[in-house]
């Protein structure tokens, strides 16, 4: 008599990213159909539109890549938008041309482009490392640490030039964010971090900490050091975003990046990253980002009254996550 083996290894479940991808297709389809009905043209089959769909979200997308890792560790980063603002101001002030009567540092104009790049990365890194150190060593909730940084960094950006915008960058600085460069940079960053999260020690430890920080610590992961690294990298990515944003717009202003943090978080969560930590992927976040891009372009495409757009956007954020949660629950329950 032998016992029957009924419990077989499960076939790999459909990855959650698939759901997000289907959601993206669905939303695009809706705009496509409405487009033919109301505007009489295609939404999707328009090269220029496809470009702007990605272009307009790729800067926040870069932030979202950093935020994704932070959320996977079980944390959150509310400071990224403000860090973008402060970093843009500071970096841009080292990228001004000499024939600008009001340069922030008249003695430091026409510097090689590497200077503002280094400044931006460093500023972002420092802000992120400060977040990480606070969270890791004082054990205060990430929500609070990064809220404090959010307020403080916005203060810095307003104080830096007493609110004056910083404009007139050198040509080489202006080239960073020109054309489709933001998209290319996003893709490079996303691929790098996809690899890092899936195939390296860095990724494994990031997921482990988000899943059970105590277990990770007992198992010998240097949780504190790792958290500082994760937040520092997220800050550096915010710095990168500031670089591209100010270059693309040829100006840096104290109000830059307001609300970017919430958009970035929403992108990640729509892409299936769990706010409880331990679960999520860069691929999901990228898809969440594209959903944002499609929505923004779709609104303008359909000439929806600006007054309705925010309401609809709020609803779409919620519906996207509701749909994802529902699908995952159904899958877990039945199959």
């Amino acid at each position: 008599m032998t016992a029957t083996v009924t419990a077989t290894a499960g076939r790999p479940a459909r990855p959650p990213e698939m759901n997000v991808f289907l959601g993206l297709l669905g939303i695009a389809l809706v705009f496509e159909v409405l487009g033919w009905i109301f505007i009489g043209q295609s939404f999707v089959f328009n090269l220029q539109r496809l470009q702007i769909i990605i272009l307009q979200v790729s800067i926040v997308g870069i932030i979202a890549v950093g935020v994704t890792q932070v959320i996977i560790t079980g944390g959150i980063d509310l400071s990224s938008g403000s860090v973008v603002g402060a970093t843009a101001m500071i970096a841009m002030s080292f990228a001004q041309v000499s024939d600008n009567a009001r340069a922030v540092y008249p003695a430091l104009t026409d510097l090689p482009v590497i200077v503002p790049i280094a400044v931006a990365l460093l500023c972002g890194l420092l802000a992120g490392a400060a977040n990480g150190a606070l969270i890791a060593y004082t054990k205060i909730p990430p929500f609070i640490a990064t809220l404090g940084m959010m307020v403080a960094a916005r203060g810095i950006s307003k104080w830096y030039t007493k609110g004056q915008p910083v404009s007139f960058p050198t040509d080489s600085y202006a080239a960073i964010g020109a054309g489709l460069n933001p998209v290319l940079l996003f893709i490079v960053i996303a691929v790098l971090f996809h690899l890092a999260l899936n195939y390296t020690l860095y990724g494994k430890h990031t997921y482990a900490i988000g899943s059970n920080a105590e277990a990770a610590r007992i198992s010998g992961i240097k949780v504190e050091r790792h958290l500082v690294m994760v937040y520092a990298i997220a800050g550096m990515l915010a710095g990168t975003a500031a670089l591209i944003l100010s270059s693309k717009n040829l100006t840096a202003q104290a109000g830059m990046g307001v609300m970017y943090e919430l958009d970035a978080i929403a992108m990640a969560v729509i892409g299936g990253v769990s706010l409880a930590g331990g679960r999520g992927s860069i691929l999901g976040t990228a898809l969440g980002m594209l959903i944002f891009g499609v929505i923004i372009s779709g609104f303008t495409f359909l000439r929806i009254d600006a007054y309705y757009q925010e309401m609809i956007k709020g609803v779409i954020i919620v519906v996207a996550v509701v749909a994802d949660v529902a699908r995952q629950k159904r899958r877990a329950r039945m199959v």
């Binding site: 007493k162 609110g163 693309k248 100006t251 109000g255 757009q309």
Partner: protein, 293 residues
């Protein structure tokens, strides 16, 4: 003397010039101490700041109202404490019932959008258009200046003279250059045909210009208007990209307000209503404004 100043918000380019005009001027005066607060575009916070000033015993208060219809409560608070008050830049709703020790130095926001749109209308006519499509880029929808300036555009178009203009779409950029640039690219990708872009502020106009240039559009064929006459805007005008903007003497307003506040604090008489007009800026007269904002 101690003067408390509550600004509507700090991260606004125009108000920054006004604020700096005020503080720079205070620096040249003996014994005048100016404390500037940021109301963060929050009417509630602004009222509380005024009360904090009163509690700290300042000699006079300057308010740049977040919302001109919220000035009644502010006037009441200052009047109750007997502290002189001067409104700056935005005309308060209770302008006709101000107590004796209150005054205002302001511009009429209705003028800015009207001047801008009229000039765009003129330029389009000059170019021989009999039908013109307009794209409107609004500022933040919750902001009063955006609401008024947008209304101005509609009002001007409603006049028979400019009725040949037709708004094909109006969207918001939240005052923001990046969002305006994305917005314009989205419009371009939809194949919207247009002859002019009227923006609520220069930043938005510049964003639209950057996108149009990236798309290879000849800027001579499009009329673009903004408001503020910022340095960036004047540079864009010099490059032939921006056609119209509107100047407001921010620094002058700041100085004037501070002067009025000081006089009130010393019990001297002041003119209660000082209107500072908006001025149209075009390539023809832009040189006059280069050093101003």
């Amino acid at each position: 003397e101690n003067i408390g100043v509550s600004m509507a918000l700090f991260d606004d380019n125009f108000l920054t010039v006004l604020r700096n005009g005020m503080t720079d001027y205070a620096g040249t005066l003996e014994g005048v101490d100016v404390q500037v607060e940021d109301a963060g575009n929050d009417v509630g916070k602004q009222l509380d700041q005024v009360k904090n000033f009163i509690a700290s015993g300042v000699d006079a208060i300057v308010v740049n109202p977040v919302d001109t219809s919220a000035t009644q409560a502010i006037s009441d608070a200052a009047a109750a404490a007997g502290v002189p008050l001067v409104y700056v830049n935005r005309e308060p709703v209770n302008v006709d019932s101000l107590p004796d020790n209150q005054a205002f130095v302001a511009s009429n926001e209705k003028d800015s959008g009207t001047l801008e749109t009229l000039e765009v209308c003129r330029l389009l006519k000059e170019a021989g258009k009999t039908e013109a499509n307009i794209l409107v880029i609004m500022g933040e929808l919750s902001n009063q200046a955006a609401v008024v300036r947008t209304q101005d555009i509609h009002d001007v178009i409603a006049t028979p003279d400019c009725a040949f203009m037709k708004i094909v779409d109006q969207q918001t950029s939240n005052w923001n250059r990046d969002q305006a640039a994305n917005l314009m690219t989205n419009w371009l990708s939809s194949g919207v045909a247009f002859d002019a872009v009227i923006a609520n502020n220069d930043e938005s106009a510049i964003g639209a210009i950057q996108s149009m240039k990236a798309a290879g559009i000849d800027m001579a064929s499009v009329v673009v208007g903004g408001v503020d006459a910022t340095q960036d805007a004047l540079a864009a005008m010099a490059a032939g990209d921006l056609d119209v903007t509107v100047f407001q003497d921010a620094a002058g307003q700041g100085q004037g307000a501070l002067d009025a506040a000081l006089k009130l604090a010393r019990g001297e008489a002041v003119e209660q209503k000082v209107y500072i007009p908006f001025q149209l800026v075009t390539p023809a007269n832009m040189a006059d404004f280069m050093a101003k904002n």
